[in-house]
């Protein structure tokens, strides 16, 4: 058994969502009193992840994927349950904890839009207080494996989406985190960039032993990368195991697409 790096126990989180209603009277009332719906985003989520794993975290939109990622990255404080990651509780030791993780939000950029990529990196170096030697080594390694050299001095706004995503991933690895969260890293990328990103994730996982947790809607990502799948729906954990096991359970042929299998699985759980 590998060392566990992440241990989640009974994590639960609910949100109050203000009811929005049409009509002038209702709207006027809403100014004074708001009606709330309580939405349970996460219900009793428990799992543990070992060092060096690549875990695919899947589920339909609104199932609680990003809430879980937010809890694990220390952004959000859950209502109940405990979470130990590398000996830290993410939401209490935020500043010391986040030095050890890298986060990529696929839909948002952490790079400064108008300046060359390298300037953003220099700033990150100071934010994370990365020692010069380590920064240079990492930068060299990253720009070699991700082919950044040709556009590292170009302002971000002039980069293509694929180039930008490669820069984003590199940015979140400059401080040598041992845990990497990737939230939809391949969204909107063309085939070439997708393959490059996947290849890179594999490489850093193998060579640096970085544990990777990725959410995605692209089942091909999962197939190419993940040793293990966590599936979440309506805030509860529905499946935890390998892709092969899942295939076996459905008795599907290789031919049948993964997407269809997942749809079937969603249907089965009525989500």
């Amino acid at each position: 058994m590998q060392d566990t790096i992440i241990q989640l126990e009974g994590i639960g989180k609910s949100f109050k969502v203000a009811k929005r209603s049409a009509g002038l009277v209702q709207a006027a009332k809403a100014l004074l009193v708001r009606d709330y719906n309580v939405v349970e985003a996460l219900k009793d989520i428990s799992f543990s992840i070992g060092k060096g794993e690549i875990v695919g975290y899947i589920g339909p939109n609104g199932a609680g994927k990003s809430t879980t990622i937010k809890v694990m990255s220390g952004i959000l404080v859950p209502d109940e349950g405990s979470c130990q990651i590398m000996g830290y509780t993410p939401w209490t030791d935020r500043v010391t904890y986040v030095k050890n993780i890298g986060v990529v939000f696929g839909q948002r950029s952490q790079l400064w839009w108008d300046v060359p990529v390298i300037d953003s990196y220099e700033l990150l170096k100071d934010i994370y207080k990365i020692p010069r030697q380590m920064y240079e080594d990492n930068l060299r390694m990253l720009s070699e494996t991700l082919d950044l050299a040709e556009f590292i001095r170009t302002p971000v706004r002039q980069l293509s989406l694929g180039q930008r995503m490669r820069c984003e991933i590199a940015a979140s690895l400059l401080h040598s985190p041992s845990l990497l969260f990737l939230d939809e890293p391949t969204i909107g990328l063309d085939a070439v960039s997708k393959l490059a990103v996947r290849q890179f994730i594999k490489t850093i996982n193998k060579e640096q032993g970085v544990t990777v947790i990725l959410t995605t809607h692209d089942m091909a990502d999962i197939e190419a990368l993940a040793d293990r799948i966590l599936m979440i729906g309506k805030g509860t954990l529905l499946y935890d195991g390998s892709l092969e096991q899942l295939r076996g359970r459905f008795g599907v042929q290789e031919k049948e697409s993964l997407d269809e299998m997942i749809v079937q699985l969603y249907k089965e759980h009525q989500i």
């Binding site: 404080v77 986040v98 986060v103 934010i127």
Partner: protein, 260 residues
């Protein structure tokens, strides 16, 4: 601190990418308070004086508060523009970084075009200082500097308060203008011309009076009472920042428990 300068330099580079726009905007920023100051000038030209205050005394008042305002807009703009940051969901990004949120938000924006505004305030300030028959000594110069610093802190505090509000709602934030723009417009004239409730509010709640009107009395030799007291009043502006920061941290905690 070094990190803050790093932020500043990267933002400077960004803004220089749009050079023409940068200069035009700086010039525009010069013009905005210029027309307001022209208004003040014309009013004095028409009426001669303002309840015992001469034009240059009022100009000093104007210069100090506008200087403080432009500095705060320059440095604390990140909080001023915070609603955009929250709406774009970029605050999450700041939370996964190992630095304090206050520093990161400060570093998220830096408005260099306010240099235009600053220049305008500096000219008014210089003109007023040159024309007023004040005998300058170390104490008075210190007070003057403290007044500007205190003003910057008050504006920054208000920006932080308003930014905190963004954790709950991003609607109706225009009301903040009462405190920032309103405070500025009001404090550019000596506080004694206003009604009691305005005086009380802007002395004890938002202490603009403490960084502008009251110490100005001391500088102009109009105060009655202890000189030291008037001299040290601008420190109230610095103290004002503390509760604002505390409230900010409550806001961050709220954000982290609701994630909205």
């Amino acid at each position: 601190m070094r990190l803050y300068f790093k932020y500043v330099s990267i933002l400077f580079k960004s803004q220089l990418q749009y050079r023409a726009s940068f200069w035009l905007l700086s010039f525009g920023q010069f013009l905005v308070p210029f027309t307001v100051f022209a208004g003040l000038y014309f009013m004095f030209e028409r009426f001669g004086q303002l309840q015992g205050w001469t034009f240059f005394e009022a100009a000093l008042c104007f210069g100090i508060i506008h200087m403080a305002f432009s500095l705060s807009e320059c440095f604390a703009r990140g909080f001023d523009a915070f609603s955009g940051l929250v709406r774009r969901g970029e605050f999450d990004r700041l939370l996964v970084r190992p630095r304090s949120t206050v520093l990161q938000v400060l570093g998220s924006q830096f408005e260099f075009t306010r240099v235009g505004r600053m220049l305008q305030s500096a000219i008014v300030l210089g003109w007023a200082l040159y024309s007023l028959p004040v005998e300058w000594n170390t104490a008075k110069v210190t007070t003057l500097i403290l007044m500007i610093v205190g003003g910057v802190f008050i504006f920054a505090g208000i920006y932080i308060l308003m930014a905190t509000l963004c954790f709950w709602t991003i609607q109706g934030l225009e009301i903040a203008n009462i405190l920032t723009d309103g405070g500025r417009e009001m404090a550019q004239y000596p506080l004694n011309i206003y009604e009691r409730w305005v005086k009380i509010f802007f002395t004890y709640v938002i202490p603009f009076g403490c960084v502008n009107y009251l110490p100005l009395l001391y500088i102009l030799g109009k105060q009655d009472g202890n000189e030291w007291f008037y001299m040290l009043l601008p420190l109230a502006g610095i103290l004002f920042l503390l509760p604002c920061l505390a409230i900010w941290h409550i806001g961050v905690r709220h954000y982290r428990s609701t994630g909205s």
